[in-house]
């Protein structure tokens, strides 16, 4: 039974996949509605508030939106 359980777990893990997305395949991620923050000005304001309150920064955003441009 233990071995069967181990096989089931290993089988389930093998069904997972990591699909690698090349930089030039990120067309859909570059669309406006795929951005984390649609309003840049508001986002900057909120980020500033957060940085002030938390005394730390970072952990947000990807260069050039989801497309990773620049």
């Amino acid at each position: 039974m233990k071995i069967l359980r181990l096989f089931v777990i290993l089988f389930a893990l093998s069904l997972c996949s990591c699909a690698e997305v090349k930089p030039w395949q990120k067309e859909n991620l570059a669309r406006g509605h795929m951005a984390f923050d649609p309003d840049q000005a508001e986002a900057r304001y909120v980020r500033h508030l957060y940085t002030s309150k938390e005394g730390s920064s970072g952990g947000y955003g990807v260069g050039g939106g989801g497309c990773g441009c620049n």
Binding site: K22, P23, W24, E27, G64, C67, N70
Partner: protein
């Protein structure tokens, strides 16, 4: 045991791998098609200084980089300097629309919808550009396009052209 670990670590450090798309490596050859249906093959550009740029219609910085490249080519009129702009859009229509909206008359635009050429250059960001010398070697590469890149690129290109006796 410790000796073995130390030996393994030092051997890892001493390996230096020349990877395609890196500085001073031979630029991977390619043969693509231009918008007019003509063949664009890197081998035809031997003896010329080539600025190879990978772009796409959806890439924000490309809206600035392509017109800028066009300007640079109009400024550096020498035939020994050529700009090849390889488009990586999966749909040709998007690329054609972009080309209509921006002035790119001085550039040679080629299409690589499958991304095979980009793969061979190990393109890691959009856009990416490579400066290839007259011997077909990559002498510089740029990831992304920034305001600061502009001067650097022009300087690198002019330096290569100066070697060929062109100001």
């Amino acid at each position: 045991m410790r000796v073995i670990i130390i030996l393994l670590l030092t051997s890892l450090v001493s390996f230096s791998i020349a990877v395609a798309g890196e500085k001073n490596a031979a630029a991977p050859l390619f043969s693509l098609v231009s918008s007019s249906g003509k063949s664009v093959a890197l081998s035809d550009y031997r003896g010329k200084v080539v600025y190879l740029d990978f772009w796409a219609s959806w890439c924000g910085p490309c809206k600035e980089s392509l017109p800028w490249m066009n300007e640079v080519k109009r400024e550096i009129k020498s035939d020994l300097f050529q700009i090849i702009a390889v488009n990586l859009d999966s749909e040709r229509d998007s690329a054609e629309r972009f080309l209509k909206e921006h002035d790119v008359g001085a550039l040679t635009v080629a299409f690589d919808p499958s991304g095979g050429t980009a793969e061979s250059y190990k393109v890691a960001a959009m856009p990416s550009s490579y400066i290839i010398d007259t011997h077909g070697n990559i002498v510089a590469s740029h990831r992304g396009f920034h305001e600061s890149s502009k001067q650097e690129i022009v300087k690198e290109v002019k330096a290569l052209l100066a070697e060929q006796g062109i100001k």
